[in-house]
């Protein structure tokens, strides 16, 4: 019960932090921590399969695609 409370609070706080970070690069990093808190929540709620999905997608696939996009768009926005 106390574990559920802690992990739910972590998800709530980190979720708000993701929304509040304005720099996209920082947002990707905060989002990674948010994903990790979701993994903990899923494990605490006895859903390890979903936890594993969130782990592999949230730590590699999602930030990678975002980082590549940020790198690309920053380049095109730079004045010549």
């Amino acid at each position: 019960m106390i574990l559920q409370l802690i992990s739910f609070t972590a998800v709530m706080v980190l979720g708000v932090l993701v929304v509040l970070s304005f720099d996209p690069l920082r947002q990707v990093m905060v989002n990674g921590v948010f994903g990790l808190s979701l993994v903990v929540l899923f494990v605490v709620l006895q859903a390890p399969d979903v936890g594993l999905s969130e782990l592999v997608v949230g730590t590699v696939a999602f930030p990678l695609v975002l980082l590549a996009t940020i790198a690309r768009t920053k380049e095109t926005q730079r004045p010549k």
Partner: protein
């Protein structure tokens, strides 16, 4: 619309919406109170009728195997869409960026992590119907190993290790194998995706019948699809790498 008007509109909508949300929440079941019969039923028959000790695996690849087929093709078509959209912006076909990693720590730790992540991915996929995991999770983890190759070495090494034609073939074959297994079930047992293999002993790798085949089919498809996706984004990324445009 002025800032004041926007704020007024927002507060009216936000108040109304939060009222509805709170109203809906008063009638919610208490936390952890599960009233569905389907879940209880599947939990009971997962091991006795399918010999799959991971009931989630039995649901994903057997009881609701048809849904997973749809999900496979969502991934399949989205990778195709990404390839179509990003390819148009690709002017230089074969770039050779000089992005070799100069940081020893990244090279060493990244290199060490490649086999660990690869084996973890294979293990997740292989034991998908025995312990938590499965073809999807395993496939994404295998693709992560390829990403680590790029992190620890260079884009050239990554591109050489993951030739697009081979990946295209693996992705297509994985998606097709899922349909073929379903059709074999239709032919032998009279229902699409029916479990037609001997069920074996629950808790071992030789269990759960054709769930194992579907599991591996999706593992190959997911791994190849993810690496193809990363390739497209990496190609976009290396275009911005210093020195790429000067080289050609």
């Amino acid at each position: 619309m002025s800032r004041r008007q926007r704020l007024t509109l927002f507060s009216v909508v936000a108040l109304g919406l939060s009222g509805f949300v709170l109203w809906a929440m008063t009638d919610l079941r208490s936390f952890g109170d599960y009233a569905g019969t389907y879940g209880v039923l599947l939990n009971k028959v997962g091991v006795s009728e399918r010999h799959a000790s991971n009931v989630v695996g039995a649901i994903v690849f057997d009881f609701r195997g048809f849904d997973t087929l749809g999900e496979e093709f969502i991934l399949f078509s989205s990778v195709m869409g990404v390839a179509f959209i990003l390819r148009s912006s690709l002017k230089i076909k074969d770039q050779r960026p000089l992005d070799a990693v100069s940081n020893d720590a990244t090279r060493t730790v990244g290199g060490l992590m490649v086999p660990i992540v690869l084996i973890m991915g294979l293990w997740l996929a292989a034991y998908g119907y025995v312990t938590p995991g499965g073809g999807f999770q395993g496939g994404v983890a295998i693709a992560s190993a390829a990403v680590l190759v790029w992190t620890a070495t260079s884009y050239r090494a990554f591109a050489r290790l993951t030739p697009a034609p081979t990946l295209d073939a693996i992705e297509g074959a994985g998606a097709a194998a899922y349909v073929v297994v379903g059709l074999v079930g239709l032919g032998l047992d009279g229902a699409f995706l029916a479990n037609f293999l001997p069920l074996g002993t629950a808790g071992t790798l030789a269990s759960a019948g054709s769930i194992g085949l579907l599991n591996w089919a999706s593992a190959f498809e997911v791994a190849a699809a993810n690496i193809l996706l990363y390739r497209e984004f990496f190609q976009e990324y290396v275009q911005t790498f210093p020195g790429v445009r000067e080289e050609r």
